[in-house]
């Protein structure tokens, strides 16, 4: 991770104070409300039972072993990662051009207005949005009626309860993340740089590949992370839109908390998921940096 080191030569005491002062409040807050509770969960993941009341819990690795013993856990984990990758890819594919248009070609009031219009859908409830999609995608729903109105007798689309339906719902939910993060990176690129490259005879595609994409990479990566990471663990969207196709590792984890009282296994599965997510990011992020 590159970083400016303006204050590097300064006396370390002051520097330390500054670092602690700037990061302290945020991380103290995170520690109190997320890290400590999650550490408790992490501890539970090594127990045979939740230590509530009279329950007896002993230390065990069984919960982690379960993942490797039962094939369907692995199948579902892979499926979840595939879903995360696909949704991230589509968000980039559709979101990046949109961010570019916003940052580079649309000017003035329109830009502010469009920028806000992109974010606003976010402010409606995720559950309500997903239920709206069911009305669009379901049999005899909005989309099917529209298609049959344009092409008479097209027949049923059969989109609801399929894998693509889940992807559509998730891409919709997460697309604004990609547009926003790409936008703030693209907006920072000096227009004159692009003009200079163009006037030196570089073709549009070359400018895009050699200049714009590398400079926008921090935004693209930030967006990709903010999309990929939560999508892997998503459970609500697959459950509602996917029907029979809607079983993923996120739904399996949810079951350990709602259908049975097995927090240890649920916690173990989520920490395994987190581990794999971090592994993938550790491999992919530097690769992406090097490639551009």
């Amino acid at each position: 991770m590159q970083s400016a080191t303006v204050d590097a030569p300064r006396i370390s005491g002051r520097r330390l104070r500054a670092i602690a002062g700037l990061t302290g409040p945020a991380y103290f807050w995170l520690a109190l409300t997320v890290f400590l509770p999650l550490s408790a969960m992490f501890y539970f993941s090594f127990l045979s039972d939740v230590p509530f009341g009279k329950r007896v819990a002993v230390l065990t690795l069984e919960n982690y072993a379960a993942f490797f013993e039962k094939e369907f856990y692995r199948t579902l984990m892979l499926r979840s990662f595939r879903l995360g990758a696909e949704v991230t890819f589509y968000c980039f594919l559709f979101g990046f051009p949109c961010a570019y248009l916003l940052a580079k070609t649309i000017k003035g009031r329109w830009r502010e207005a469009l920028f806000l219009l992109v974010i606003l859908p976010f402010w409606s409830n995720a559950l309500v949005r997903i239920f709206s999609w069911t009305m669009v995608l379901r049999g005899n729903g909005v989309l099917e009626r529209l298609v049959n109105w344009i092409v008479p007798d097209y027949g049923p689309l059969n989109l609801m309860f399929t894998y693509p339906a889940i992807v559509v719902g998730l891409v919709h939910s997460y697309l604004p993340y990609m547009i926003l993060t790409c936008y703030i990176s693209l907006e920072a690129i000096d227009d004159s740089l692009i003009e200079a490259a163009r006037s030196l005879g570089a073709r549009r595609l070359t400018v895009l590949r050699r200049l714009v994409l590398p400079l926008a990479l921090p935004g693209i990566l930030a967006g990709a992370i903010l999309i990929f990471v939560p999508v892997v663990g998503s459970f609500m969207e697959p459950r509602i839109l996917g029907g029979r196709q809607g079983t993923f590792i996120g739904t399996i984890i949810e079951d350990q908390f709602t259908a049975v009282f097995n927090w240890p296994l649920g916690a173990a599965l989520s920490f395994l998921m987190l581990g794999f997510v971090l592994l993938i990011l550790l491999v992919v992020v530097p690769l992406a940096r090097r490639a551009t």
Partner: protein, 357 residues
Amino acid sequence: MLHSKLLRRGLASLVMAVGLAFGAAQSWAEEIRVLNWQGYGTDEAWSLELFTEKTGIDVVHDYFNSEQEMLTKLRTNPGAYDVVLINSAYTKQAADEGLIQAIDTSGMKNVADLSPGMRDNENLAPGGTTYGVAWLWGVTSFAVNTNDFSEMPQSIEELWDPKHAGRVGWRDDAIEAVMFAAIATGQDINNPSDFVVIRDKLRALKPQIRTFWSSEDEWNQFMSANEFDLATYWSGSASRSKTAFGLPVEFVIPKEGAIGWLDGLSVATDAPNPEGAKAFIDWMIDPEFYVTWDTEVGAPASANAKANAELPETAFNRAVLGDPEKVATLQFMGPMDEELRQKILELWQETKTYLQE
């Protein structure tokens, strides 16, 4: 310095938040707190108005979305709740954990009218001590779209009939799914003996299932959009779909039997207002409340025999569930140990993975 100023501002907001939360929690009138599923009887606005009028007690609600959550909320909030709805399969567990208290029913005028079999049900009153007052009961089976059936099916095998390939709705619930398979394969729903047979029976659903449903509303929408020929369902909800939504559905109790369940109302340990809680429970089993609820909104069957008898003769809860022959075929959900629940969940998860291949 920047951060200290910001921190101060942040803290000020935090203090404000705390103040507001306490302000909202403070209330002058006597109140009781109820923990239940949303929209499950206790929170009917007209009934609460009547109850407050009669007793001067305000009713505040908190909700859960699964039985496990209900237990967790009880465990982590001692003294926060007065009345809690517990499925009789979980009552003993809650009592053993010390989450609910024994109820002295002597002052409750409607308890005498409860069907004795339900009032003294071993799951609600283990060892003769009442921990849950029998409130509602019903059947989990399946309902059919009457447009697709000229005569009502008699067998649970209808769910597996190739005629309905891709037209069956199924609830995504491990225990319910396994219980259906247990009934279809002639096993005890609370302690199935042959899991291999059950697994194969569930796997055979692969060509059948259109989708999983998770809420009553979803069920109604799918039925209304003609996605299902037939779908697993709850008896109380089926009568609601029929009367309140005008859907062409009919609930079926097949000859192999169906899943029966019984819900009780309990008083939480350390309830701040146990007397108010008992008064509220007594109101919930009152025929005056129940008859209006079932006829205007739609409800499961009441454990109060007198209340059921006051229903119109055509009401499902009286006509079908009042038939002792039908009731005899039901297998009631009983307590399960966690090991068995876990085994059932894993079986269902594995099946679902197979179903989507």
